[in-house]
């Protein structure tokens, strides 16, 4: 039989007389990589990256800090001390374990539910509080709403509210690293809802075509505000989309800190040594509300939330593993929680004493130097404030 194989512009393709449509789904869903079972016990045949005692304990204490920060700042918002907050409850393992598998040279482009990466890299309670309270010491100079952290010295690019815009930017950052031939990669995060955005598709496509060292971590937490995954896409989650772009992918149990650590560690190695993008889909559950502007009990059953919160908490699961190794104890637990809580409360107290950003900061950094129209606008504003001081807050320095 001739014409069995034809040379097409993009390669050789075998022909078949059988008309067969590729099914819209495989019979079984893509399996999910896990190392620790629900009780924090290592599964016998698992292959994973070793974690030292020091790293494991830091991972755990950082998860505790994340949980504590979430509790206290959420409360602060409810008390009216900050205007907005969003928690990472249920996704602590994704945050901390992925950060732990990276080096500080790897550049991170977050979505907005990844403050744990900053915690791992040493961002202090005070620095978090400064941003949320928008005071003068905020690195963002009070220009962004709470939780929109950013710090170039921590290689963590400022959070930007629109969904998925960070994905093509991540490819650009990787392109920059490629030009420098650096031993580093880019890691960017997205929720499963964000994968519906056009930017997700073209970013993955670009990353594959430009052979960019980016690790895309998708936190599939089941809910995009009130939209469940069944209304978001009809594919088997996000992991199967990687192949459509020619990207190596893996599905991981996002609530298993060791599995997350191992997968990100391996992904990073491949991304850098092979100069290719990797897609990681971390399955998890958003235990908290989308943000302080949301009440998720309105659209999902309370017992579903409770079940994940109590039975599948990633922090508890990891704690059981480090306790079993003799690296943690009940006393250490009490100590850690008290100390972190104190730190957080102290940070808030201190931050509320710091001045708000001055009016001058409203006009700087729009450009490298203020142009004449901004100079004039600032002058007008100052005149207005001077003339009507009673209409302007007295605690904002002019």
């Amino acid at each position: 039989m001739f014409w069995q194989v034809l040379d097409l512009p993009d390669g050789k393709v075998k022909f078949t007389p059988e008309m067969r449509f590729i099914s819209e789904s495989t019979t079984e869903r893509e399996s999910c990589y896990r190392v620790l079972d629900d009780n924090g016990k290592k599964i016998m045949s698992s292959n994973y990256a070793e974690v030292s005692r020091e790293v494991a304990v830091k991972m755990y204490t950082d998860m505790v800090m994340l949980q504590t920060m979430d509790t206290i700042f959420y409360e602060a918002q409810r008390q009216g001390r900050i205007s907005f907050y969003l928690t990472t409850v249920g996704e602590e393992a994704i945050n901390i374990a992925s950060a732990a598998a990276l080096t500080f040279d790897d550049i991170v482009l977050p979505q907005y539910r990844e403050p744990g990466v900053l915690i791992w890299r040493g961002f202090t309670a005070q620095e978090f509080a400064n941003q949320c309270f928008s005071n003068k010491a905020d690195y963002g100079k009070g220009r962004q709403m709470p939780i929109h952290y950013g710090s170039n010295k921590h290689n963590y690019i400022t959070v930007s509210s629109p969904i998925a815009t960070q994905l093509p930017q991540a490819v650009g950052v990787a392109y920059s690293l490629k030009m420098d031939r650096k031993d580093a990669c880019v890691v960017t995060y997205i929720g499963e809802g964000g994968t519906s955005e056009g930017d997700f598709h073209s970013a993955l496509n670009f990353a594959a075509v430009t052979e960019a060292p980016v690790v895309f971590i998708c936190r599939n937490n089941g809910w995009a505000i009130s939209t469940p995954t069944s209304d978001q896409f009809r594919s088997d989650g996000v992991v199967v989309k990687g192949r459509a772009y020619g990207i190596r992918s893996i599905r991981v149990d996002g609530n298993d800190a060791l599995a997350m650590y191992s997968a990100v560690y391996a992904a990073r190695e491949m991304a850098i040594s092979e100069q290719r993008p990797i897609l990681i889909e971390a399955l998890t559950y958003r235990v908290g509300h989308h943000s302080t502007s949301d009440d998720s009990t309105k659209y999902r059953p309370v017992d579903e939330i409770e079940r994940w919160k109590v039975e599948r908490d990633p922090v508890t699961r990891f704690r059981k593993w480090i306790e079993r190794n003799g690296w943690w104890s009940g006393e250490a637990e009490i100590e850690a929680r008290n100390s972190v809580r104190k730190q957080m409360l102290h940070a808030i107290q201190e931050t509320e004493k710091v001045e708000k950003p001055p009016v001058a900061d409203m006009f700087t950094d729009v450009y490298d130097c203020p142009p004449s129209n901004l100079v004039e606008q600032e002058k007008r504003l100052r005149e207005t404030i001077k003339r009507h001081p009673q209409d302007y807050p007295s605690d904002v320095p002019v």
Binding site: T165, A170, V171, S176, G198, A203, S372
Partner: protein, 401 residues
């Protein structure tokens, strides 16, 4: 932005720019030239003082002949080239000078770009530095922004300006904003460029004037080139600027020929260009309309008028200094633009002049723009949507009554 002031003859290096030329040490730099000539746009002599073609009124000013104002060129001979070659020359000089400069866009590599501005660059600098991207404007603009935040200086080419509407999210939300919202921690020195404006029967989608849509975005600068001289100068200035700059080119101006200086020069991003000094009326224009205005100016001069023609060049921010001085002299303003009437650059400029100089005006500002219609395909209809020299002549006559 630092404004760069003119040098008279000797090449000097301007201190405000040399601070911005510091690059991160991880990249090795080629030897930098000692200094460069920065020329103020109105320093040159005006060659268009007298009537050229007496009695010949050409209604379709297809700008292929370089009757436009000569640049303020020093006495050296210079070399002749077309506008798209001037853009390429500027681009190439900057790529040679600074290894962080790179280009990304559709078909910019071996194809050389839809208007050949990047021709030959991929062969010289490789596929990575002159990057062919898949068709996703929002994404390659985002990619450029990400690269810029980590030390590169990308030039993002839109195959046609209209396609950059797809990139509006990245341009507005990230390009313009991230330097500000990050507290100055991340800067975005990108240049976004491409051909726009009404061409010859390119259809509505390929005949858009995006400068009016982008003008509100805080944090970006916008310039429009109109001659080979200012095209090269503005391209270089835009690349060197630490702010995101959108450089508007016009589809019909790429084959303009002009003699430009051999030695290096950079134009100022915030300055307007005095094309023809005059006394009776200030005509403000930019890009292709400059040529329609100059065509009309010849007729006007025949009729005894003395129009002052300024190519505003800097669309954001406006050079109110040059414009103001002109208004104070002539007391009458005519704005000629290709944008649509509603929300165009002309509308914005009218407001700015009225606010700042209304005491000096003897008559209300007149603004000639395209109508608020998508550009039709039929040649006769297309011609009528664009402001023609005859309308400009009429408007000046009415304004000067």
């Amino acid at each position: 932005m630092a404004t760069v002031f003119g040098a008279t003859s000797a090449a000097i290096s301007v201190s405000s720019n040399s601070r911005k030329l510091h690059l991160p040490s991880r990249r090795s730099l080629p030897g930098r030239r000692a200094g460069f000539l920065v020329v103020r746009s109105d320093a040159g002599a005006n060659p268009n003082a007298g009537p050229r073609r007496a009695g010949q009124l050409i209604t379709n000013a297809v700008a292929t002949k370089a009757d436009a104002a000569a640049p303020s060129a020093p006495s050296k001979p210079g070399h002749e080239l077309l506008l798209f070659e001037a853009l390429r020359e500027g681009l190439e000089e900057e790529m040679a000078r600074d290894p962080t400069v790179c280009v990304m866009g559709e078909d910019v590599g071996h194809y050389g770009g839809s208007y050949k501005v990047t021709k030959g660059l991929a062969d010289k600098y490789g596929d990575l530095r002159v990057l062919d991207t898949p068709i996703a404007e929002n994404s390659f603009t985002g990619m450029g922004i990400g690269a810029a935040m980590t030390g590169l200086r990308p030039i993002i080419e839109g195959m046609n300006m209209g396609f950059l509407l797809l990139a509006f999210n990245q341009i507005s939300n990230n390009c313009g904003m991230l330097h500000y919202t990050s507290g100055g921690q991340f800067k975005i020195p990108v240049v976004i460029r491409g051909p726009g404006g009404v061409g010859r029967q390119l259809g509505a989608e390929h005949s858009q004037r995006l400068e009016s849509y982008f003008q509100s975005i805080p944090g970006i600068q916008m310039v429009a080139c109109s001659t080979p001289y200012n095209a090269k100068g503005l391209m270089k200035a835009a690349i060197r600027s630490d702010n995101p700059v959108i450089l508007f080119e016009h589809v019909l101006l790429y084959n303009l020929k002009e003699r430009i200086p051999d030695e290096e020069y950079v134009c100022s991003l915030e300055e307007a260009e005095m094309v023809r000094p005059g006394e009776h009326v200030t005509i403000l224009t930019y890009s292709r309309m400059r040529y329609h205005v100059m065509q009309a100016a010849k007729t006007l001069v025949n009729k005894g008028y003395d129009p002052e023609v300024i190519d505003i060049r800097s669309l954001k921010p406006f050079d109110l200094h040059t414009i103001g001085n002109s208004v104070k002299k002539t007391h009458r303003v005519l704005i000629v633009e290709e944008c649509m009437r509603t929300g165009g650059i002309g509308a914005s400029l009218t407001a700015a002049i009225t606010e700042n100089f209304h005491d000096y005006l003897d008559a209300p500002i007149v603004c000639l723009s395209s109508q608020d219609v998508p550009t039709p395909y039929a040649a006769t209809l297309e011609e009528v949507t664009v402001v023609q020299p005859a309308q400009i002549v009429t408007a000046v006559e009415e304004l000067c009554q």
